[in-house]
């Protein structure tokens, strides 16, 4: 019980809870910002009402979501100082800089232009208003870049030296911190996963309305946009994930050995499909494996040896002194699999959906549908899925709309827990990072407060999302289609109500 409530354990739980919760909103924010910006651009170019309605519909869901992303992000920045003050002292010289860059370059961008976008519908010329949402989208991506560069430094520290006298790490090459291969690979993997997340969300909600045969023109458009995004980003998730895994084999062999429950160095190494391990004795009791595949994942050939957990642990003991350098192996093993599994189901569903709704010239005459009809899912050149199967596809899309979110959460749990017992890999153990002056009671208090607050906000947020999803795209008013800034005339009526007000 005492160990379970040690400030380090509590601080780790708090970091885990608040970060995973924060990251439920981040990927949706990043992708929906860009998707909404794309829809609004389509409206500005074509003047088709369905694009404006889609912009307003997805824009509303985006705003409900970004509000939570922003507020839960504030906590993240201050948590380092509150719960991990020795970490902050040791790495602030290196780690603080990307955070300051994020605030000054990305946060200001995002938060200023989001205000302009929300309140600027009838205050700004159409194209400048459109530029505002693009600025928000760019801001979110920049923000992700800086934070991932900071995280990558914890995974693979570069561009620094240890100043023994000051007892801390000091930056020697900031450019290297920003551009090292871990940062670039993590960025592409995280961003593409974010787009997969937003796309699955869009496809799921579009499917919900199509299932009920409502708001068809808007939802058809959203469905196709979502499916294309899903397939493109899904492919890139796989490619970038493979690249990141290869880097990890090189930089954090222990994490990848744990992800595979590969106890002893083997060459060719098999890929594990299912394993039940005995952590104390260091071997698997049950293992179902595909020979050679792990070697391929690590080295691009089917024979090279891959280091195992036991050998890596010995090597690390030699390098860093006695100790147990193994992360929690069942967590690493299963989180890695759940990340891939949930992500792949979503990607697969996207591929099927895109194939089934492919260009109409592939369809027989009788399957061609007008703009306002529910798209019928076609399987072959002259056949179609029966209505029942079509319905099942829509249902599956609704049910799996959160799968990439689950995948991301497991991905982060894997990345962060797989690095243990290090907070900065090979440099600073997690046990030397906590705040010595913060009491157990204080951490328990804050953890209770955050958990209760986050739970309450989750209920409110989900209820609001459901309400707005069910309501569907708004009907357009005369003012939406012809705001004063569009017909050129200056605001002639000083008492006209604001287009948007809180």
């Amino acid at each position: 019980m005492e160990i379970a409530l040690a400030p380090e354990t509590l601080a780790r739980w708090q970091f885990g809870i608040t970060t995973v919760y924060h990251f439920l909103f981040v990927p949706l924010t990043i992708s929906l910002a860009a998707l909404v910006a794309g829809l609004q651009a389509a409206w500005v170019r074509t003047n088709k009402e369905k694009y404006l309605r889609a912009t307003k519909f997805w824009g509303k869901l985006f705003l409900i979501n970004i509000a939570m992303g922003v507020v839960t992000g504030i906590l993240q920045e201050f948590q380092f100082g509150m719960n991990w003050s020795d970490y902050s002292r040791f790495v602030g010289d290196v780690f603080g800089a990307p955070l300051a860059f994020e605030a000054l370059i990305a946060f200001f961008f995002e938060s200023t232009f989001i205000g302009l976008w929300i309140f600027g519908w009838d205050k700004l010329p159409q194209k400048i208003h459109l530029a505002c949402i693009w600025m928000v989208a760019i801001g979110t991506v920049l923000s992700a870049y800086f934070i991932l560069a900071a995280n990558s430094w914890m995974q693979h520290p570069v561009g620094y030296r240890i100043n023994e006298e000051a007892g801390r790490a000091e930056l020697t090459d900031f450019w290297q911190v920003l551009t090292q291969n871990t940062a670039v690979a993590q960025f592409f993997h995280t961003i593409t996963a974010a787009f997969l997340t937003g796309a699955a969300f869009m496809v799921g909600i579009a499917a919900y309305h199509l299932l009920r045969r409502k708001h068809i023109p808007v939802m058809r458009t959203s469905l196709r946009l979502g499916l294309v995004t899903m397939v493109v980003s899904g492919l890139l998730v796989v490619v970038s994930g493979d690249r990141l895994a290869k880097i990890m084999y090189d930089q954090q062999p222990m994490k990848m050995a744990a992800a595979e429950a590969l106890w002893d160095t083997e060459g060719p190494a098999p890929f594990s499909l299912f394993a039940i391990g005995d952590v104390d004795r260091g071997h698997n009791r049950v293992a179902i494996e595909v020979p050679g595949v792990l070697s391929f994942l690590a080295h691009d050939n089917f024979s090279d040896p891959v280091p195992g957990i036991n050998d890596t642990n010995e090597a690390m003991q030699e390098k860093y002194g006695p100790g147990d350098y193994r992360p929690n192996i069942p967590v690493a093993y299963w989180s890695f699999r759940w990340m891939i599994g949930f992500g792949m189901v979503s990607f697969g569903l996207g591929v099927i959906g895109l194939w089934l709704t492919r260009k109409r010239r592939w369809l027989s005459e009788r399957l061609r549908t007008g703009e306002d009809e529910v798209p019928r899912l076609a399987l072959t050149k002259d056949g179609e899925l029966g209505p029942k199967l079509t319905t099942w596809y829509w249902r599956a899309a609704v049910l799996t709309l959160g799968f990439p979110l689950i995948a991301s959460s497991w991905g982060w749990i894997f990345t962060e827990m797989g690095r243990q017992p290090w907070v900065v890999y090979g440099v600073l153990p997690t046990s030397s990072a906590v705040s010595p002056s913060v009491s157990q009671g204080e951490v328990i208090t804050s953890m209770t407060v955050y958990t209760l607050l986050y739970a309450a906000l989750a209920v409110i947020e989900v209820k609001l999302l459901v309400k707005y999803v069910k309501a569907g795209p708004p009907e357009l008013t005369e003012a939406d289609l012809n705001p004063p800034t569009r017909i050129g005339g200056d605001d002639t009526d000083p008492d006209r109500p604001m287009a948007f007000s809180y």
């Binding site: 939570m68 602030g92 000054l104 002056s437 309400k467 809180y502």
Partner: protein, 335 residues
């Protein structure tokens, strides 16, 4: 000037930006209960800050991030030492952000009422607690030889600190009332101006006592000059407000905030957190700062990014420069 001194000034500038900007939106948040008489007046107040509060809040994130990067030990001691007040502030900022965004998402009156209560309390508490925190920073707290805070939560609630909290609370509310008078039309504008006069007098009295106390404890000639500017600007803000010159009044209440922050930072320098146990253990600009290389990169960042940020944030205020009144608030849409 050495880089760590430049960064001490820049951190002061970031806090000034934060208190100037979020100061008035905290103030408006408090006024939703004090000044507004009915639902549509509350909506007018909230809409005066609607497009800008989020951008204002980023000044805090930047101040935090910059302190982390430029003075890691200051950041570490401050945030771990002042754990509970910061916890309350963070919870308030979380609820407050959600409150602004979610309040209008449902038309029911009780839903909106609840978020309005939330906006009031989550504006009031941080406005008070920031004063408590800064009063403690300047006055000195129990810092040990290991740079760690050695006091308790209740050590932070001393008379000087509570007075400091009341100063920021009243000053921000005054600043918010002046802003409201500047941004609204009709009856609410007149009442905001009247309330600003009363608030301004209370603020002036509290500020004078608090700043004199701080000055006598740790001030020098420069901080005395800043204190004088703060008090004179506050008097000028009051005068301009009574004369109906709302723009001038807001400018002067802004100067009051800037000069107050300047006074506190001047009283602090070259310490960043003096130790009340032993001056030897005080955190200073030299013993907490980052390496020259990091500070150099940060200086480049600040030199390039800050003017751009000021430019587009300034533009936001220009876009939404129009005064608003109850007639600009549409009836809530029923879904």
């Amino acid at each position: 000037m050495e880089l760590h001194n430049i960064w001490f000034v820049l951190i002061a500038v970031l806090w000034t930006g934060y208190f100037f900007l979020e100061g008035f939106d905290f103030g408006v948040g408090v006024l939703t209960k004090v000044l507004a008489r009915d639902r549509s007046e509350r909506r007018v107040l909230i809409n005066t800050i609607g497009p800008v509060w989020d951008g204002n809040e980023v000044w805090l994130l930047t101040a935090g991030g910059a302190t982390f990067a430029a003075f890691p030990d200051w950041y570490a001691t401050l945030f771990s030492g002042f754990y509970l007040p910061l916890l309350i502030i963070l919870v308030c900022l979380i609820v407050r952000g959600v409150a602004f965004e979610y309040r209008a998402k449902r038309p029911e009156e009780h839903w909106q009422r609840n978020w309005e209560h939330a906006i009031f309390w989550t504006s009031l508490l941080p406005a008070f607690l920031w004063g408590v925190i800064f009063a403690n920073i300047v006055y000195g707290v129990r810092i040990g030889p290991d740079k760690e805070y050695a006091g308790s939560f209740f050590d932070l609630l001393n008379t000087h600190a509570i007075l400091g909290g009341l100063v920021t609370l009243t000053l921000f509310t005054f600043h918010g009332a002046v802003f409201t008078a500047l941004k609204t039309v009709g009856d609410i504008r007149i009442r905001a101006r009247r309330l600003a006069t009363t608030l301004g007098l209370v603020t002036a009295a509290l500020t004078l006592v608090f700043l004199s106390w701080t000055q006598s404890h740790s001030g020098d000639a420069k901080s005395f000059a800043a204190m004088t500017v703060a008090v004179l600007a506050l008097v000028a803000a009051l005068g301009a407000n009574m004369a109906g010159r709302e723009g001038w009044s807001f400018a002067f209440s802004g100067v009051t905030i800037a000069a107050t922050v300047a006074m506190l930072f001047l009283a602090l320098f070259p310490d960043v957190m003096p130790s009340s146990l032993d001056p030897e253990w005080s955190l200073t600009v030299t013993n907490t700062s980052s390496s020259p290389y990091t500070l150099k990169i940060m200086t480049w960042l600040a030199a390039i990014a800050t003017p751009v940020v000021l430019l587009y944030q300034g533009w936001t205020y220009w876009v939404f420069r129009k005064r608003i009144g109850t007639q600009h608030i549409a009836e809530p849409v029923h879904h």
